[in-house]
Symmetry: C3
Subunit: 271 residues, 3 copies
């Protein structure tokens, strides 16, 4: 069912405004191009809203956060909301400092997100900020054992914020609070490459921008795409290759992925 | 005729000061090293002029522009002008926001550029800021159909600013307002790699730094180098490769390019 | 003797807080992951100390220095000192501007470093700031001819600061002011890749974090690891490959390096 979502990105060529960290900005720009979208990186408060006004999607990422970037994110997010353009939130390290937690709280209060994507500890940090009850111990990573508790946590955040919530890890969960996709694509070596999460958030913005009426399916399609490309790329590695070769192969797999291959390779269940 | 310009970079090892965006700064540093130059990235107003004072060339790039970077660019540009060191301007997204347009206007007013390099919409935005008459519709990309109008636009900007103007796209134009090189190297897949334009601007600064008396030929040699390396790199790709492999192959082709091969592979006409 | 130091990194998975430049931050994050450590990049003064408080090691790097980053570095460094967590200082361009020299002076005064790593001109600049007598002309690069003078300079800085000092170049020296390792791993082509020094500083922080009681041996092990991986990677290059392929191969060699191979390939003498 996800092939058409990739096809939509390839046809729409959406321009995605990224307010993101400087560690993985290059990889984020390149994965957007590989998917058929276009990136524009701009994080000055003086221009953030104007850049968003020319874009079809927006990603806000908390990595290497600076004080000046928060008003830029708020202005861009409000502009996107006013235009009905999807906003993806990647709460990198939301639990790692009071500064990031405070920024996350401001953004959750001031911007309506189409999708929130993070790992389990980031999503738990957000859920905590947002006052969600999460009296479950979902652990730090999604495993078969923590799957149900993680899903409950994600669904609660989704219902509370109205945003499709994607928790990625060994297993990925994408839920709007009612329906949920449980996705089993990917490869453990992806954790050895910095920025695969940031890249997935940008990819999610591209998919949501191209199919704005279907954020749940668009986000799940993006998650399957990234994971499947992690599998395809892994199969190309030689014994001497490592994460640098792997990073490049993942990006190249995104470029080469066809809707048919995504249909064939996506491994998910709808719950 | 361009072989000696590459040779000059290899012999002079010019130190190039780059005030540039954080998305492609790594690629810019690496392409300068690959060409035989040395990069120094520094964008704090406190040190910009001093860093320029130790350099043989300067690039100013508007990507991920911040307010603090504008005074740094002005100070560095003035220092370079005082020393007679060439300055290359890359007006990334000059038309995308009032903030960037304002910065571009300040830079055009305060700094004398040796070369301005951008795509057609960036060059048109600059020309508009600068009050150039451009009553021609050059379209958004240089194609055989828009070639004459694009050349007229570039030549008008060159005459007005005194800077060699390079407009890059499917066809590249490099003009000082009188003579013009029309260059047909390159490959369409270069558009799938972020930062090839930023890299070319840095490469242009290296070529201009090594041949400061001949900015027109130096800029055209840099444009041919980048395009030819795009062709050489493309020929090395396998069917599973994509833009990540391509990005690396382009950089490696720059490293391996000999003056003789540049002579042989450069495809241009002087108009 | 260095195998166990690599093994310790692989077992401890230390989280390393990096306050570093935006040019090579991605490579720094990836090399930490490749070695078995985890990176966290954060340079806002609002969160620097808190991020350090969750980390096992800290790197401070002067590249693309901004005024706001200095208080962040000081706060993070003091936090690390209070916790007894090793801090590595990479004085990128310390001699290139008064701004960087001033920041270096503040950091040397305010933070106790476990290791200082730089090239010869950076180490000389630091030694000068710090009032070390260096009435020797060690030249700009460590060669067999300048070896003794370079060692004297490094040892004087080490004794003065209490930090293990690593001077890297054609030959690498690592000294605590008393004992010294003279290391002959590496390949000249590493100079054609931007950021190998920054990466080595981060790697050094990971090694020091995993073996905090032995900073001299940990730093020397990191230097051997980087140099040996430069040799292994070089052996994998084809005639068409250049620095982009080389950069990736180095990182992949770090990922694949075993303690046994490090034992076998390390080339050093203890003086």
């Amino acid at each position: 069912m996800f092939g058409p979502y990739l096809q939509a990105v390839r046809q729409a060529h959406p321009l995605i405004h990224c307010i993101t960290n400087y560690v993985t900005a290059n990889d984020c720009a390149n994965i957007l191009l590989a998917a058929g979208a276009s990136p524009i990186m701009a994080d000055a408060p003086e221009e953030a809203a104007e850049i968003t006004s020319r874009s079809r999607g927006l990603t806000l990422n908390l990595g290497t956060l600076h004080a000046g970037r928060v008003p830029a994110m708020l202005a861009a997010g409000r502009q996107a909301n006013a235009m009905g353009v999807p906003v993806v939130f990647d709460p990198v390290g939301a639990g790692a400092s009071a500064f990031r937690a405070g920024a996350a709280r401001q953004l959750l209060a001031g911007v309506r997100f189409a999708v929130i994507r993070g790992n389990l500890s980031e999503i738990r940090a957000l859920a905590g900020l947002d006052g969600c009850p999460h009296g479950v111990d979902a652990g730090d990573r999604i495993t078969p054992q923590t799957l149900e508790a993680s899903l409950e946590l994600a669904a609660a955040l989704a219902r509370r914020t109205g945003a499709v919530t994607a928790v990625t890890g060994e297993i990925d969960l994408v839920t709007d609070g009612t329906a949920a996709f449980c996705i089993r694509n990917g490869h453990p070596m992806m954790r050895s490459v910095t920025g695969t999460g940031c890249q997935l958030s940008c990819l999610t913005a591209a998919f949501a921008a191209a199919s704005p009426a279907r954020p749940l399916e668009a986000a799940a399609a993006a998650v399957c795409t990234m994971g499947l490309c992690g599998e395809i790329a892994y199969a190309r590695l030689t014994p001497a290759d490592g994460p640098a070769a792997y990073r490049d192969r993942i990006l190249d797999a995104v470029y080469r992925l066809t809707p048919a291959r995504l249909e064939e390779g996506a491994r998910y269940e709808l719950r």
